[in-house]
Symmetry: C2
Amino acid sequence: MKVKGNHFETIWIHPHNQAVVQIIDQRYLPFEFRIEDLNTLEDMYTAIRDMHLRGAPLIGAAGALGMYLAVVNANGERIEERQITDAAAYLKSSRPTAVNLAWAVDRQVNALQGLTTKEEMMETALSTAIAVIDEERMNCLKIGQHGVKLIEQLSRAKNGATVNILTHCNAGWLACIDYGTATAPIYLAHDQGLKIHVWVDETRPRNQGARLTAWELQQHGVPCTVIADNTGGHLMQQGMVDMVIVGSDRASAYGDVVNKIGTYLKALAAHDNQVPFYAALPSSTIDWSLGQGARETPIEERDGNEVRFMEGLANGRICEVDILAPGTRAVNFGFDITPARLVTGIITERGISNANKKSIFTLFPEKNLNPEY
Amino acid sequence: MKVKGNHFETIWIHPHNQAVVQIIDQRYLPFEFRIEDLNTLEDMYTAIRDMHLRGAPLIGAAGALGMYLAVVNANGERIEERQITDAAAYLKSSRPTAVNLAWAVDRQVNALQGLTTKEEMMETALSTAIAVIDEERMNCLKIGQHGVKLIEQLSRAKNGATVNILTHCNAGWLACIDYGTATAPIYLAHDQGLKIHVWVDETRPRNQGARLTAWELQQHGVPCTVIADNTGGHLMQQGMVDMVIVGSDRASAYGDVVNKIGTYLKALAAHDNQVPFYAALPSSTIDWSLGQGARETPIEERDGNEVRFMEGLANGRICEVDILAPGTRAVNFGFDITPARLVTGIITERGISNANKKSIFTLFPEKNLNPEY
């Protein structure tokens, strides 16, 4: 999507040097827009581990390109299989719980298997990485094409008056290659000329909404307003929200949605005020083994310092302030589970389903291993 | 309650100089504990306007003591009625929408009426102010005495295991004279030796939970943990909250509760997880003229900069950081309305009622002007 009027994606091959990968270094957003050159496997490892980039689809692409950089920088004309598996293990350890990272790295390992010359390997690693990027981009675009129909319907029902959409956290293009997941229908609606406005939940404690979602919407020209996470319920009571679209970190085939902490509270408010609540996600996010209610999902407990320290700009410099008294304890759970009963629908790359197994298996029949459904 | 091991209230007459009022200057909490001397009516005006102190009961007491300071500092042996009414109008203008301020100032004006000598007036103004303070303190204590029974019941049901209580914003002793409203049952339970733990909602955008509630609980020795406002729903889903107690800025006789933005979201989660949800409030908070649903309540829209700027400590100094990109819009609604159907009960100075007119009028029969109830 657009940044300062130009089209950007989150990760790409350097236009004048195929041996270099470039990324948007997201650590400085929204205060500074920095592009970082990644020259080596080690550079990519650091970029992933230290969250220069984040978001499941983007981390997958970064893993694929990290393997490409490992091949590019290998010494000599021939590369041993051991070099590839070592590079893969190293790269996967940068964020051990990121499913997409392991998946994309393994895809490279498989593609490179049996090849021996560096030249062949470079060619294969590059085309595999480009395939991963193309697929991720296409999934988001399709989510957008399906989801935008919902916004079109609301716009028609309102006779073209502004459609107000609330979102939580960042399921935007900065987490993907382009378009985003929750934001894909929003960008497509905006580009089609529909009048829309987005309420952006700040999303404490890490403020991904205030920092990333608001920035990317604003750069693309989509009208938006940041609100404290406490505000969405009131807005819905007042009829100021027409729909909610969020992303997801993991979903069950029953339609339960695991997403950034606080999503469940917004889903409750949406349900209480008859506001449609959608989760937009590529089907790779669906954990087909997850039971009803998704209750076996481990909820990551992160560092309480993410609650304690708040980063922002003071006197033109990025710095952080400590918002608690010394000795005050803070805890920080990363995600919550929104039960399917609160979810109006799931927007996937294959279409929109209701939040139940029957409807989801209608879109993904190959996943249905149980004829009962 | 206790600060650094000593008992404090929020406002008092200087122990060695009856012509001086002292307050805790709350602007610097939780980073610095500062006591401020207020010598004049003008000092009190500034303290109220610039929020050195806040909270409806405390502002009432400050108004009464502000009038006392006006009398103390009047020139000559005799004070004209005009001097009193001028002082009253000036003081009330420090926070024009604070109902308790106007009420307490008018009480002083009425008490002083007909008196002429400064000596008589000083004596009357002092005793009136002390009466206001005593009543506010007593109301909170009674709320605590009624509310603590709920915690005792939960403690018994859990065989003495820790009772986990979630609260939102600051309805603590810092908003009152002592005890607080939502916190009064908590302090009494703790002082009785019951095992309790309090989840303190950060309460964006002004962070009254993180700054004030966590500080005052910690100073008094009550175990507590600060959480992002997004977290309460997840905690309730996990069975980690036994009850919710909040304060209120305005309530209807039907049991609807207007309170800090975000309260409604916690009430929804409590209802969805069968967690009892109580509002603790002195009956002066009930607006007997408010209709069912409290929908005519004007919801204050405050400065979006309260969302944009975050205050905290950096390098030992209090400073604020800007957390949004330039040009990003933020809105800031102060309150939301929790409908009575989500409220388990109302804890008042006369006892605990259900959140409906019949039950509330049973406690306050003199307010029932309609024999239908």
